[in-house]
């Protein structure tokens, strides 16, 4: 009896490992219908391979991806319209699988405003993936959305564990909204910077 049970268990285990299910697409994104909402229109360039566009259950940490749209064939473009919850961070992920096992990803977080209409344009080129967001509420006067910033996405073998590197999303959005006309980071001036008020003398290299 004991022997039979052991055999059955082993057999069940072997069968289970043989019957590994094929990679599955995540559940479809379900657009919210109540509360403050913003619309997005998703468009892409002509993709030689396959493109996937996701949103997330957990928008701050990019966990629980939900499929908004995907290309049905290669040599096609992404095209979708949906809604996002407004006035809170929203994360969007463009993933691209090119012929020849090459792939790229772009994840961006921004804060859509209630009643606004956004164009999310994604592109895959030889140099990688890009994702831009424009406010097209007034189509004659499109404006690049200032609140969006790039996320560092950590893919994992088990997709459910994939996530964005933790960051203070609200602070990043606020920071992204401030234009930086110099195009510099403070570190680009570090050899010249005046001393900190606290007397961090090691930073002073003014001559």
């Amino acid at each position: 009896m004991k022997y039979t049970l052991l055999l059955n268990t082993l057999l069940a285990c072997v069968l289970a490992s043989c019957a590994t299910p094929p990679p599955q697409l995540p559940p479809n994104y379900v657009a919210p219908i109540v509360g403050p909402l913003a619309k997005i229109q998703v468009r892409s360039n002509q993709l030689a391979g396959f493109g996937f566009f996701y949103s997330f259950d957990d928008q701050r940490n990019c966990k629980g991806n939900r499929l908004v749209t995907m290309t049905k064939t290669s040599q096609s473009q992404l095209k979708a319209s949906t809604s996002l919850r407004a006035d809170e961070p929203a994360s969007l992920w463009f993933s691209y699988a090119a012929p020849g096992n090459r792939s790229c990803n772009s994840v961006r977080t921004f804060k859509p405003a209630s009643g606004k209409n956004y164009l999310v344009y994604v592109a895959a080129t030889d140099v990688g993936c890009a994702l831009s967001i424009q406010d097209i509420t007034d189509p004659a006067n499109p404006k690049f959305e200032p609140s969006f910033f790039a996320r560092t996405y950590v893919p994992t073998i088990v997709q459910a564990n994939a996530h964005c590197v933790a960051t203070d999303v609200d602070a990043q959005i606020a920071k992204a909204r401030k234009p930086n006309l110099s195009g510099l980071r403070m570190d680009d001036l570090k050899a010249l910077l005046p001393a900190a008020a606290s007397g961090n003398g090691s930073e002073t290299t003014t001559k």
Binding site: S182, L184, D188, P194
Partner: protein
């Protein structure tokens, strides 16, 4: 009576134009205050160049991007060179205040205008050092005033041409008052003479904004670096 009115009108028109200087006079007035900025890397090798305008004794304003990646910089005019130091930084507005400690540096400060009182069509001149060509004067109009969503002036678009190296130079009215700091040009294919200066009124906010940005930077650095032993 008619003669009196005519005389008053004539006198007023003369008064009104008396302060608008001819370009050569304007150049003589403002050129001592505009300097070439030359930057150097850690090995002392030349890195880049730009311009700067004297706004008070020993103090000049320039664009921060002129100083990017530099280890040191000098202010140069007529083959005389002074070592510069960075005093205040506003990366978001691309305004950097620099100083020259050398007591021999006696360049006069320019007069500063109110950049909230500009008009499209107003005649302007720029003075800077495009491609390190020292003291290049050009003229044009204010072509457009670019306002942000909050109605604040964000940029002064001008037809007065400038080029790389003009960054940090001055946009002046015909009385020689500083209206803005020449910052960028639109080089997209098909663009012609789309040049942008930053409003000089941003200078008023520079001390506070610099304090905030440097404070944030040093705070972030100290949070990520072990304390010095």
């Amino acid at each position: 009576m008619f003669k009196l009115i005519s005389f008053i009108l004539l006198a007023c028109s003369v008064c009104g134009s008396a302060t608008a200087l001819e370009p050569d006079k304007l150049f003589t007035l403002i050129s001592p205050s505009v300097w070439l900025v030359r930057t150097f890397d850690a090995d002392g090798l030349p890195l880049g160049s730009g311009s700067a305008v004297v706004i008070e004794k020993h103090k000049l304003i320039t664009n921060c991007h002129v100083l990017g990646k530099a280890s040191s910089f000098s202010l140069i005019k007529d083959k005389v060179s002074y070592k510069g130091a960075l005093e205040e930084v506003d990366l978001e507005h691309d305004f950097c205040l620099i100083s020259v400690a050398d007591p021999h540096f006696d360049a006069p400060a320019v007069k500063i205008a109110d950049s909230d009182q500009l008009s499209v069509g107003q005649r302007v001149v720029t003075l800077g050092n495009p491609r390190a060509l020292e003291m290049t004067l050009s003229d044009g109009l204010i072509s457009r005033l670019q306002h942000g969503d909050d109605d604040q002036l964000e940029a002064i678009q001008t037809s007065a041409p400038f080029s790389p190296g003009s960054s940090g130079g001055g946009l002046f009215d015909v009385e020689g008052r500083l209206l803005g700091i020449t910052q960028r040009i639109n080089v997209q294919t098909g663009s012609q003479n789309l040049n942008f200066a930053l409003p000089i009124n941003w200078l008023r906010e520079l001390p506070e904004r610099s304090k905030a940005q440097l404070g944030e930077y040093y705070a972030a650095k100290s949070a990520h670096e072990p304390a010095a032993k």
